[in-house]
Subunit: 211 residues, 4 copies
DNA sequence: GATGAATGAGCTTTCATTCAT
DNA sequence: CATGAATGAAAGCTCATTCAT
């Protein structure tokens, strides 16, 4: 076996190994930053700490992120991607024309499962982190996409579906956020609260429209 | 955050401002800080800037506030006091046993008027400012007081009034916050949205209880 | 003597003392920076070192200079002011219509005395320090002012005085810079070189103009 | 400058580039560095950028240059070699005993053509780049060689040829540098300025010696 | 009481250099 | 030989806080 061929064959894994290492570094940085954010808040997030926690040098942080904010961007990105994935799932289930109760279940269940994931990080992200205009608009676009989707599902059942979709999506999001992320006190268990929320939204959707 | 002792310092004015001039100084400091917060966000708030904007020296700021955080505390205080004043008003009106529609009107109207006041400051306070545990609990206590009040008003009309009060208060607060403070896009005018919100809460309260 | 009057009278010195202290700080910073520049070059100039050498804290440096470059600006400023002062002096002497030899003496003597002052700092400033466009244009303006002044003095004696002034000013500046600042090797003593320079410029001015 | 050892390292290519490919790499590095220097100045020159612009890896840069400074050394080297080549040419022409006017023409023409080549790089090299003592002395040696050469050519025509050579070489170099490299404002076109410079140097050489 | 100059810990960011692959 | 990920010392700059006047 000629050496030149051997080395070419052998070299490919080397490249991949390098990319894998770099990928691992990026991952470690994001994980470390998310941890710090969740545990100690936005005020405690600094690039040196991130680097130390990630087990890399500050230089490496700046190798992959142009500045501190970009790290938070990446974390938010992951979260928004989760939300977008959930939409994709929901859209799939909304294809077979669910009734009102099913729509509400999907909505409430979706937001609750979304907010159950790392609530502390979620809280810091939503109540301490200064979002850039781009980030804000991306969050807003996601919200509108959800509302649009729900409106289409509601169309066969109610009047002014967009209006109602807007209300129920915001309500479902807000209350589940409040209960799970803000850990606001509730007079009953989470399951009961969720059921009551479902009850409220369904009552609203089934009521005759406002004059 | 260079001052490692800052957070250990008590959050109480160093000296009570008794004289009128001193009161004016305190007021100027709070106003300046609120302005900066509203215009440029938490990240731009620093004691030297506050002092300059207030037309006093940094030294004077520290004469009345033990540390930077105490200034924000004072701002939050003013806001919470507004909320508390609104409760007092509401309690007054709830004395003469209003019906469901009147209760909902009072609730929705109250939160909307509350959120209409300096929404930018409100946003910074609720989504960028790191609140101390004491501040959080104070906000939470206010919320619970409102819920309690509404629950008592609802008692003659519905079952599980505490549960329902909890839901409608949170919904009214969340949606009005979203529309007015976060300036989230809405499919209709503010008046229509408010009416729809009213409609939703009333439908929920009039529906037979969940099984 | 009423106490209120006494304190007002006494307070003025306090204010002045403060301003004096601040002035001393500024002076110390500039001196320290100039020293570092002269001794160790542009590459060794950093704000922390400047602060230490000036016997103040970094914070104080930034209290008076918005950034590192501004310190160098201030140093350059002082140098340019020296040059401008020399022009003023020269202009004074050129009033009583000197002859060619006197003009050349004034010019050569002026540049030599200018370049004799802290040549090491001068060298760093002219051959290591990256000047901003504003700084460059200010230096250029000074040069043109000198040329203009010399041209006016030459007008009664030669043709194309602007052209000749431009040449002789640049030559006088360049050679004295080279000898005193760059410490370039010379085949004779400084006095001889200066005399020879004088000789050259005078020979040029007295020669009949180029065709 | 993070590398405290850098200045202690020898300024000699780590390995002699013997193969054609290696030679091309070295060339690319030097070209890239020169470009950056000319376009963005000394402050923008950094090894990673040089590597990227040269289309090689940083590692390769350090394969051929022991440190950043060595790259600048190489650039300066090329420039000095140009100057040396010009001397060789000049020496050739000075063999057949030119008269004063021819000597001056050769000198002025030589410096002007030298300074016309990449003036921006030339400027950065002469007014931003911190030269090492070795580099300074090499430049100085080149200058002395030129002076020596001119002195020999002048010997048959004037007294104190070394002294006069020193003056006219420095003047020719300085003024052409000022006009072409520093882009200093001139009251006439470049050709006129050059003619005037010639005129000045010739007048000086033909004048009777200073007493 | 009021002032504001001074402080300095701590943060973000850069970049020359190394070395495992 | 070449690569480029990783390093980390060091620089620029901010700002909460103090204290002499």
């Amino acid at each position: 076996m000629p050496a030149s061929v051997a080395s070419k064959v052998a070299r490919r894994p080397v490249r991949q190994a390098r990319q894998a290492r770099a990928q691992a570094t990026v991952e470690a940085i994001i994980q470390a930053a998310a941890q710090i954010l969740a545990e100690a808040g936005w005020g405690a997030l600094n690039t040196n700490l991130v680097a130390r926690r990630a087990g890399v040098s500050v230089g490496s942080v700046y190798e992959y992120f142009p500045n501190k904010n970009a790290i938070v961007d990446a974390i938010l990105d992951a979260h928004l991607r989760q939300g977008e994935a959930l939409i994709a799932q929901g859209a799939l289930r909304l294809v077979d024309r669910p009734d009102i109760s099913e729509i509400v279940s999907l909505l409430v269940g979706g937001f609750i499962s979304l907010h159950r994931d790392d609530p502390r990080l979620h809280r810091v992200l939503s109540s301490e982190t200064p979002l850039s205009p781009e980030q804000r608009s991306r969050v807003e676009r996601l919200r509108l996409a959800i509302i649009q989707m729900v409106a289409e599902a509601l169309a066969p059942h109610v009047e002014t579906p967009e209006l109602r979709a807007s209300l129920i999506v915001d309500v479902a999001e807000s209350l589940s956020h409040r209960w799970l992320v803000d850990e606001a006190g509730t007079p009953a268990s989470e399951a009961v609260m969720a059921a009551e929320l479902h009850h409220m939204l369904e009552a609203y959707l089934r009521a005759c429209p406002a004059p």
